[in-house]
Symmetry: C2
Subunit: 241 residues, 2 copies
DNA sequence: GCAAAAGTGTTTTGCGTACACCCATGC
DNA sequence: GCATGGGTGTACGCAAAACACTTTTGC
């Protein structure tokens, strides 16, 4: 029936020149945790048409740049951060999602420890926004944000990634309050503690909190050793909360 | 510090012309189920350099075409199928993943009922390959396939999607054998049946199998009514097997 | 009557969940 | 001594998992 014509790569390349008219961008949902709230790093839109709107941090992907590298570049340029947790979530490709032309965007989320990086943000257009206080973002960024929040909620139930949002040492209260902020629910303290000790995700530092106006809690560290040799996609199946 | 310059959409458009040099494609992992095996629909590469390799079904996305529409188009063009189950999985964006230039590809998987569509494939370059007998695919398609298989395995544990792979009416044995083929494990028959009846995913047709060389099993249908108004992303939290 | 798969219940075990009181510290 | 959060244990219910025998049909 249909005879399939064989082509060379070179032929294919020239035949499809019309298709190379699409730009691809990455948008990063950068999560942080501060004062018991889950926050997202946003920037004021640099487009006049959207000057009252906040947007996610993103940029066009360069023709000679890996998709993931582009995300890391955005993170590094905007926050100075390297080696942060970063994960791809979804690609948004509606024809008219962006006013500047056909721009398909791949969304990533990353988890950073706000405290380590406050200074770098001091004098620019970047601000941390509590996720519960975010109004309309530019373009389809509200949708992107919501998709990433859902994904994060799912992910923390089975994977030890929240530690990227916390300082090296943290109390169980901080950890629980982080889970509560992400999930938007209250959790039972005794069950929460029991679960974490049972899972062996924590290492007791034999230190306690300083300068708290109440009985200080013990400090813990993430038990990195337990997860060596595991990439992001592995290690399923262990319900966390 | 950094003064952010305001731009109009028009300015942005012309400034970034160099970025619109990337093509985006969709690649569809089309799953089917036949003879107790999970299969994937593959086509012989139409590139001379890869003529001995099989590839996933994909195509470049047109500049005026939604990403998801492109996937549906590929499915329709290749299999004649409309209204199939389709879900985005991941976007592969390494610089040198494709020999024809900078092509970023978004992977989708879809679930089809092989029996309904055998004829359309008879005389072309398409063939169903059992997932356990697939050798090296062209480009990074092995990686894409494996990502989709993992995703499918996760998904069927909580969502009633496998019915897309079965005929309208099916026996519990067929259903269980499908789960076993996807997960690559054996399951306990009694627990499996109990679970499905408890979940109320099935409707008893009061019919039995015909022409089987043993005691015929009862036939069931997917209980569509129970999931009306649910999109693909909703309805989490109900462990299936 | 034999092969092959259908159909069926019970028991055990682990996990999630609910729940209340005393303790240590700062002020 | 009081306010604040830290720290701890038990009991219940449900769901997962393990497990074997009888029934029905085709040949």
């Amino acid at each position: 029936m249909t005879t399939v014509s064989q082509k060379t790569v070179k032929q294919l390349k020239s035949e499809n020149r019309d298709y190379f008219q699409i730009a691809i961008s990455v948008d990063c949902v950068i999560f942080g945790f501060e004062n018991g709230e889950l926050k997202v790093l946003l920037i004021r839109s640099d487009l006049e048409e959207y000057k009252d709107h906040w947007t996610l941090l993103g940029d066009l992907v360069k023709p000679d740049e890996d998709l993931e590298s582009a995300s890391y570049r955005v993170l590094k340029e905007r926050t100075g951060l390297m080696d942060v947790f970063l994960e791809q979530v979804y690609t948004f490709g509606d024809v008219s999602r962006h006013p500047a032309g056909r721009v398909i965007s791949t969304a990533y989320y990353s988890l950073v420890n706000i405290k380590d990086h406050q200074l770098r943000l001091a004098h620019n257009q970047l601000h941390w926004h509590p996720i519960n206080e975010i109004n309309a973002l530019a373009f389809d960024h509200t949708k992107i944000l919501n998709t990433c929040i859902s994904q994060l909620q799912d992910k923390i139930m089975e994977h030890p990634i929240v530690f990227n949002l916390l300082p090296e040492k943290f109390s169980l209260r901080e950890l629980q309050s982080l889970y509560e902020a992400i999930l938007g629910t209250k959790l039972d303290r005794r069950n929460f503690r029991k679960k974490f000790f049972l899972m062996d995700w924590l290492v007791d530092m034999n230190e306690v909190e300083q300068d708290v106006p109440h009985r200080p809690g013990k400090l813990y560290q993430f038990n990195k050793g337990r997860f060596e040799g595991e990439n992001t996609e592995a290690s399923k199946h262990a319900q966390v909360v």
